[in-house]
C-alpha cells in the first residue's frame, strides 16, 4: 500500500489478536500474536492507536487528537501509524500473514527467582576464569572436548531460556537444532521483549552466565580444553549492536527507546535533520557512555585472555607505541568512513532536492528572457494553454476550440507597465511565457506589490472579478508572451459558466495562494479547492482582527497589506502579504495568546476552522509545515500540547 494513501485515505482498524505488556513503567510492548510482530510504545502512543478500535482514517484520528488536545508531535504520529501498519497492529482490509504458531513448552522456571542467581553465576564464573589464568592447548582431543562442552552449554542455556520464557507466561517459538556455528539446540526468544525488565535481564544473561560458569569448571577439570568455550563465551558477551549485552544496556536509556525512534519509515523523518536529532540523542546519552565503557572493558578482557593463549606477548605489543597508533587508527577510521559515506549520501540527496527546483527556475527564467516579438501558437497549443488554466477547464471540446480561435497572440517587452491605475482593459491576457507583477496603490500614493502571475495565469480581469477594488497596476517583470481574449468572450465562456465567485477564486486568489509556502507542496487542485473555500475580507487601519485570549475560529492568509501582532498592547511582530496567522489557536484548540491588528488597507483571506482542519489533517505536508512555523513562533514545540 502506498504510504501516502495509508496516511490519508485508508480506513485502518486495530488488530484484535493483540497482547499488551508493560516491561517498564510508562512503556508498553504490543504484540500481534498471529503475525508475531512487536511494537514498543509509550502510553500516549497506545492511547492514540486505540482510536483505531473502530475503523478510522489517519486524518480522522488526528482531527480527534487535535480536538481533544492530545495531538502528539506530528512526525512521531505519522511514523507511529506506518510502523503500526507494518507490524500488523493496524490493518487495512486484510490481516497480515500468520507466522509459525508457538510451541507448547512443558517446563517452567520463574525468571524473577533466577535473576540474582544468573548474575551471581556470571560474576563468579568471570572471576574464576581470570583467576585460573587459562592456558589452552591446541591438541585435537582438547579442541574436540572443548567443542562438545561448548555445544552442551549452549543447548542447556537455550533450554533454560525457554523454561524462563514459559515461566513468565510468554510463548516459545521454533525449537530446533542449529548447525552454525556449532551444532546446538536453539529457540526463538522474540517474546523476551514483553516480560518485565528484571526477568529480561535474567533471560538475556542466562546463556553467558551458564557458559562462563561451565568454562570455569572446565578450567579446573581439563584446563587444556577451555579454548573454544572461552572464545564462545567472549563472543556471547560482545558489545556490538544486537548482542545480549547491548540489549541489556538498552535498559539504561531514559526515556526508553520506542519503535518510532529508529529506522524511520515516514519519508520526512529520513531527512538528515531529523536523523541527526535521533543520532544526537543516542550518542550523547548516559547509556551511550556506559556502552562505550563496556566495549573498552570487553576489549581489555579479550586482550588479557589472548595474552595467555600463547604465542603472542601482549606486553611486548603494548611497549611499542606504533602498535597503539595502528589500533587507534583502525578504531577511528571505521566510524569516520561510515560518517563520511552517510554525509555524502545525505548531502547528495539534500542537494538534489533543493537544487532541482533552483535549476528548473533558472531554466524558466532563461526561457523568459528570450525575446520573440512575433510569435504565434498553433490551434492545438492554444487549446493546451486553455486546458492548463483552471478558469477554462470546464469547457467542452467544441467550446475550447472556439475560445482558442478567439485568442490573439501578443508580445509585451519587459518593464512595460501594461495596465495603469484607472485603466479598464478591453481584454484579459493569458500568460504563455513570462511573469507580471500586480500592484495596488494606497490612498497615500504608495505602491505595494500584491502578487505575481506566471504561465497559465491571467491578468486584466480585476475590474470584472473584484469590482470593489478594481484599480491595479500591472507591470511586465520579464518579456511577456500572452494570448488576449476580449472581455465579452471572457464573460461568456468563463464568468457566465462558472460564476463570478469561482472565476474570482481561480483568477485572483489562486495565484496568491500558490506562492504561499504552506501550499507549495500541494496538488494544483488542492490549492484551487483552498482558494474556493476562502473568503476575502477587508480591515480598516488598526482594526482588531483577533483579540488576545479570545476564541479564534478562522485561519487567515494576508492577501494585501500588513498586520501587527501584539501582546499586552506591545507589537511583537508584523506580518506581510503571503504570510498567515490564526493557526496556533486552531491547532491547539485554544484561545489566542496574541492580538492581531490590521495595517494600512489590509485584506485577508479567511478559511473556517472546520475546512482548515480538514486540509491540515488530510495533507501531512501542510500539517508538518504548520507545526514547524507554529513551533518557531511559539519558541517551543507546539505538539504535544502542554496540559
Amino acid at each position: 500500500m502506498d504510504p501516502h494513501l495509508l496516511l490519508s485515505a485508508c480506513k485502518l482498524t486495530l488488530a484484535t489478536d493483540l497482547k499488551v505488556t508493560s516491561p517498564r513503567p510508562g512503556f508498553l510492548v504490543v504484540k500481534n500474536i498471529s503475525a508475531r510482530t512487536y511494537l514498543n510504545l509509550d502510553d500516549a502512543q497506545w492511547r492514540l492507536l486505540q482510536h483505531f478500535n473502530d475503523p478510522q482514517t489517519v486524518p480522522q484520528v488526528l482531527a480527534t487528537a487535535i480536538e481533544t488536545r492530545t495531538a502528539p508531535a506530528l512526525h512521531d504520529f505519522y511514523e507511529l501509524v506506518l510502523k503500526a501498519y507494518n507490524s500488523g497492529l493496524l490493518l487495512f482490509e486484510t490481516p497480515m500473514d500468520a507466522a509459525d504458531e508457538a510451541t507448547e513448552w512443558k517446563f517452567k522456571l520463574p525468571p524473577f527467582f533466577l535473576s540474582r542467581w544468573v548474575v551471581a553465576l556470571l560474576v563468579v564464573g568471570l572471576g574464576l576464569v581470570f583467576w585460573e589464568r587459562p592456558e589452552p592447548s591446541f591438541h585435537w582431543f582438547d579442541l574436540l572436548l572443548g567443542l562438545v562442552v561448548w555445544c552442551g552449554l549452549l543447548s542447556l542455556s537455550q533450554f533454560l531460556v525457554a523454561c524462563e520464557l514459559c515461566g513468565a507466561d510468554m510463548d516459545v517459538y521454533a525449537p530446533r537444532i542449529r548447525w552454525w556455528p556449532v551444532p546446538h539446540f536453539t529457540i526463538d526468544d522474540s517474546d523476551r521483549c514483553m516480560v518485565e525488565q528484571r526477568a529480561q535481564i535474567a533471560i538475556l544473561l542466562t546463556p553467558a552466565a551458564l557458559c562462563m560458569a561451565g568454562t570455569a569448571i572446565l578450567l579446573s577439570l581439563a584446563p587444556g580444553a577451555c579454548l573454544i568455550p572461552l572464545v564462545g563465551t567472549m563472543v556471547l558477551l560482545h558489545p556490538l549492536g544486537g548482542g545480549a549485552m547491548d540489549r541489556l544496556l538498552a535498559f539504561l536509556e531514559k526515556p526508553p527507546l520506542r519503535s518510532i525512534d529508529s529506522d524511520p519509515l515516514f519519508e520526512p523523518n529520513r531527512q538528515i535533520g531529523r536523523r541527526w536529532h535521533h543520532v544526537k540523542r543516542s550518542t550523547f546519552s548516559r547509556a551511550a557512555w556506559i556502552r562505550l565503557a563496556y566495549a573498552v572493558a570487553w576489549m581489555a578482557g579479550a586482550l588479557f585472555l589472548t595474552h595467555f593463549f600463547g604465542g603472542w606477548d601482549f606486553r611486548e605489543f603494548a611497549r611499542d607505541y606504533r602498535n597503539w597508533v595502528v589500533v587507534v587508527a583502525v578504531l577511528v577510521a571505521g566510524p569516520v568512513s561510515a560518517l563520511a559515506i552517510f554525509s555524502l549520501r545525505e548531502g547528495w540527496r539534500l542537494a538534489a532536492e533543493r537544487y532541482t527546483d533552483v535549476y528548473r527556475e533558472f531554466l524558466l527564467k532563461r526561457s523568459r528572457r528570450q525575446k520573440v516579438p512575433d510569435f504565434d501558437l498553433a490551434d492545438e497549443d492554444r487549446q493546451q494553454w486553455l486546458v492548463h488554466s483552471p478558469l477554462f477547464r470546464g469547457l467542452n471540446n467544441a467550446e475550447r476550440a472556439e475560445v482558442a480561435s478567439l485568442l490573439t497572440p501578443h508580445f509585451i517587452k519587459d518593464s512595460t507597465t501594461v495596465i495603469r491605475i484607472g485603466d479598464r482593459p478591453e481584454s484579459i491576457a493569458l500568460i504563455v511565457s513570462g511573469e507580471a507583477e500586480i500592484f495596488r496603490r494606497h490612498k497615500n500614493g504608495r505602491r505595494q506589490l500584491m502578487t505575481r502571475v506566471i504561465e497559465g495565469e491571467i491578468f486584466g480581469a480585476h475590474h470584472l472579478l473584484d469590482p470593489e477594488h478594481p484599480d491595479v497596476e500591472v507591470r511586465a517583470s520579464t518579456h511577456l508572451h500572452v494570448m488576449l481574449l476580449d472581455i465579452p468572450s471572457f464573460q461568456r465562456f468563463v464568468i457566465n459558466r462558472i460564476g463570478p465567485d469561482l472565476a474570482s477564486s481561480m483568477a485572483l486568489k489562486l495565484p496568491a495562494l500558490k506562492r504561499l509556502s504552506l501550499c507549495r507542496q500541494w496538488h494544483g487542485q488542492s490549492v484551487e479547492r483552498f482558494a474556493q473555500l476562502s473568503t476575502v475580507v477587508d480591515f480598516a487601519t488598526d482594526a482588531t482582527i483577533l483579540r488576545e485570549n479570545d476564541d479564534c475560529r478562522y485561519f487567515f492568509v494576508i492577501y494585501e497589506g500588513t498586520v501587527r501582532i501584539t501582546r499586552r498592547n506591545r507589537t511583537v511582530a508584523t506580518l506581510a502579504a503571503g504570510q498567515y496567522f490564526g493557526e496556533i489557536s486552531l491547532l491547539q484548540n485554544s484561545q489566542t495568546t496574541t492580538a492581531v491588528l490590521g495595517g494600512e488597507e489590509t485584506r485577508c483571506l479567511y478559511i473556517p476552522q472546520r475546512d482548515f482542519l480538514r486540509f491540515v489533517t488530510h495533507n501531512y505536508s501542510a500539517a508538518l509545515e504548520l507545526e514547524r512555523v507554529s513551533s518557531k513562533r511559539l519558541g517551543r514545540p507546539i505538539f504535544p500540547l502542554k496540559r
Binding site: A9, N396, W522, S526, N619
Partner: protein, 141 residues
C-alpha cells in the same frame, strides 16, 4: 479484462482510453460514455490487468482513467508503473476516498483528479482535456 479489439490499432484509429476500476458497473458506464465520444475503450478490473493491457496496446492507449482503491496494487502505484512504461500517457485518478484536500506525492502532483461520484460529462470532459495534453506532450521535442 477485455478490449474492443484484439489487434493493434493503426495510427488513424480513434484515441484510446483505458478504464481501470474494480467495479464492473462503473467500467461499463464509463465505456458507454467514452465510446459515445468516439474513444476506443479498454477496461481492466485490477492494476495487474491494466499493466498487461498497457504493455500489449501501449501505442493505442493515450489516457488511463484509474480508481485509487483496488484489490492488489492501488491506483497510485498503477499510475507510476504506467508512467514508466508509457511516459506520454495521461492519467486521470478517480476516487471516493482520496480528494483534492489530500497530500499528493510530488511525482503524481500533475495527475488530473476526479472525485467520485462523477458525472459522465465530467469524465468525458476530463478525457478530452487529457487528450489535448497528450497531443501537446507528443508534439514537444
Amino acid at each position: 479484462m477485455n478490449a474492443s479489439t484484439t489487434t493493434p490499432f493503426p495510427s488513424s484509429e480513434p484515441p484510446g482510453v483505458l478504464v481501470v476500476d474494480d467495479e464492473s458497473a462503473i467500467r461499463d458506464l464509463a465505456r458507454l460514455a467514452l465510446e459515445a465520444e468516439g474513444y476506443r475503450v479498454f477496461d481492466a478490473g485490477t492494476a495487474k490487468e491494466a499493466i498487461k493491457l498497457v504493455e500489449a496496446f501501449g501505442a493505442q492507449i493515450h489516457v488511463v482513467v484509474t480508481d485509487v482503491m483496488m484489490p492488489g496494487a492501488d491506483g497510485l502505484t498503477l499510475a507510476r508503473q504506467v508512467r514508466k512504461r508509457a511516459p506520454l500517457v495521461q492519467i486521470i485518478v478517480v476516487s471516493a476516498h482520496l480528494s483534492q484536500d489530500h497530500y499528493w506525492p510530488e511525482d503524481l502532483r500533475d495527475l488530473r483528479f476526479l472525485p467520485k461520484p462523477f458525472s459522465l460529462s465530467a469524465l468525458t470532459r476530463a478525457a478530452g482535456e487529457a487528450m489535448v495534453r497528450f497531443q501537446a506532450k507528443a508534439r514537444s521535442p
